[in-house]
Symmetry: D3
Subunit: 163 residues, 6 copies
């Protein structure tokens, strides 16, 4: 039986921390869908297409990975792509409380689903999309916290969605 | 002396977790005011009247419970209904930090007041109003996390307050 | 119906923090049993009789309080004295995790039992029996963390149980 | 490539919480070694052979599971049985901090190793081996927290290792 | 070598907790810049000039303190005023996780920088700017949580920035 | 005025994490006493003289550092060497709760004292003396977690104090 996982998030933007979790899970799953949850009423910081494009570039040589986006419940997307696992990275104790609530609600709605956690590598623990957006908003250089293939020069500030 | 407590919250919506805390406190207090704090400038997800109505139905056979709403400080509402206790449910360690700050500030403003905590039943720990609103927004079915008498069919999406 | 609670602990020794929790619960319960759990195989730092004696002095003018000791399960002592409530103080988020586990196990063994939590007063939050024993072991003066009636001069170091 | 995991612990005793984690990981791994770490200088509460025997009974119909014991570093046992994964259950935020430290040290000593976490089912969250030992020490009945096949009647109190 | 620190924040408003941290750090640093980070696109609750004015009054007799505001990255402001230290108060475990992430990101962007933490005095632990703003919004009296020189009467509700 | 700090601990053994905290505090204090608290009744894992010797070697070229040991209260040692600061590293949220209690008790016993915290470097966060002792007990190689000058070959297992 194929082991299929989704790695859901808004990835606004996708960080070196996210990349690290996915690569470390390569041997655990046969296929990993990186799935951007979005909401037509609530725009992100970076445009959805940019986010999809950047992640596709990061994994362009990894046929195990597929990049998607979805609207609606995460458990419904799992059912659609036949995923029995949700992959998540854990950074801190505060993360843990939040992730536990989400995972338990998901299991209540889709009992066959398991959420599988890997720990963030210590050096990447402080790197969150929120902090990266703050750095960019304040005119700072965030490239050291992003995968090499994410080229922030490819978007213009005036493209930003929710500023 | 009558022991009077208030159980304050926005209850947007009131969940099976909230119901459980109130019922478990029945033997501890002679009267429990379920009190919806609201703010005329900040609308909720569900209309205030719906929220009040749903809670009244949940406890329609429990004369010990009274359902109210208030604007302003929680301690002022306590003084008004002569409540010496605030009842709260504790779910997680993160909850705890937040609840402690609020309880200590309330005590600083009204020294005769005690905040009394019960622990959420384990199965209800992940159920929060925030998660339920997310499920509804994404078109999911949240009825299993709500008291039986809360009939989500009785409101129409176009009635929602802050979408 | 009388509201009866027990306040269990090893109270080795009983601190100003313990005293504060009990006094703040006076209006909530009709009777509070302060109950020292002990184990004949595991001696404490202070002799059991000293501990009982000190607590009795603290509450000698409070007929609402009874001081006891018990061996065996806490829930069995609750059944014996007909207590439906366990009273506990919460100091920190770390406390919370531990208290939650104990409370849930107790409820699994005695479903009619509720554990009721009050928050420790901020100034008393760092005061634990463990820290007080450390101070005494290192020759320091711990009287400011103890109720007035606890007179450390009434025992001699050579009486200590587990040194 | 076969996915081999170890589920290490002292399992003193093995609980319904432990059993649940292993069963939920069945679809994730091809083989799971339940591995009791022991120390010849530090005896447990239950004899090692009892613990091994009980776990074997729990999984007697599950050829995917093998029950072992080991002395020395966990990472050395992983290398010996060719396991690339350590399976662990996460119960609380306090657990998380501890598990993270251990997992990171293990990864520093064996970089090819990943620790994979599943969340404890909410109802089993308070069940720990420590609490079960306390119940037994105090003469209580802990069978509801143990897998069906663990028959506490098969040992006599006088067999206990470290009392 | 002069030891220069900045104490950054939005101070919306500056509380007795903030004042206490700064005064306790007087002997540790030769100069402390209290620096209000602001964002031209995101107005605060109190006008920036009011916030600056109130803090200047609090420390009008303390030549060691200078009050500033800055836009952009905190590390850039540190470089500008030649500060090698960021001073922060720690209130709770939840605070800690957040502060750690910010401090580590700042160090990644400016390796010569150290973030130095003092613990909030227990009585001031629940006092946060967020809670104070809530009290004021609900018509309550927050003066007991503010330094003496902060005279809330000096602003009119209609001056508030983001209501 | 000279800024004098003590860095207290049992340092059993002194780790790369400890070394890192002391070096990062060099610019903050004029003198740092690394002070091993010991108890004549409670032997450590490594002999006291070994521990003192190893730390002296680590800082042999740093005249700012002095290595001492003391029995009794930490605040009494501070008074003796005229230290107004206690330096501590913070690793995790769990650490934080414990450190806060100790720091507040110390301040209650010696009001002029401040405990100053630096955050552990992310890579060193999981390194604790407890984990290192476990590795050594199980026959593992812990040298990568120790300062270069700590030569574990210089002691023989039969010298260990509390095994």
């Amino acid at each position: 039986m194929e082991r299929i996982a989704i790695f859901p998030g808004s990835f606004d933007p996708f960080t070196i921390g996210h990349e690290s979790i996915v690569r470390r899970a390569f041997s655990l799953f046969d296929k990993i869908f990186i799935a951007i949850g979005y909401n037509t009423n609530k725009r992100g910081f970076f445009p959805l297409e940019k986010r999809v494009g950047w992640i596709k570039q990061v994994f362009e040589n990894d046929p195990q990975v597929e990049v998607n986006y979805y609207e609606g419940l995460t458990v419904d997307f799992c059912r659609k792509v036949n995923a029995k696992y949700i992959l998540r990275g854990l950074r801190t104790a505060a993360d843990f409380e939040y992730e536990r609530a989400i995972a338990q609600i998901n299991k209540a709605m889709y009992p066959g689903l398991e959420t599988v956690f890997l720990l963030t590598t210590p050096e990447y623990t402080p790197v969150t999309s929120t902090i990266i957006r703050d750095i960019i908003r304040q005119g700072g250089d965030a490239t050291k916290f992003l995968p090499n293939s994410v080229d922030l020069k490819t978007f213009r500030i005036e493209d930003l969605e929710n500023e």
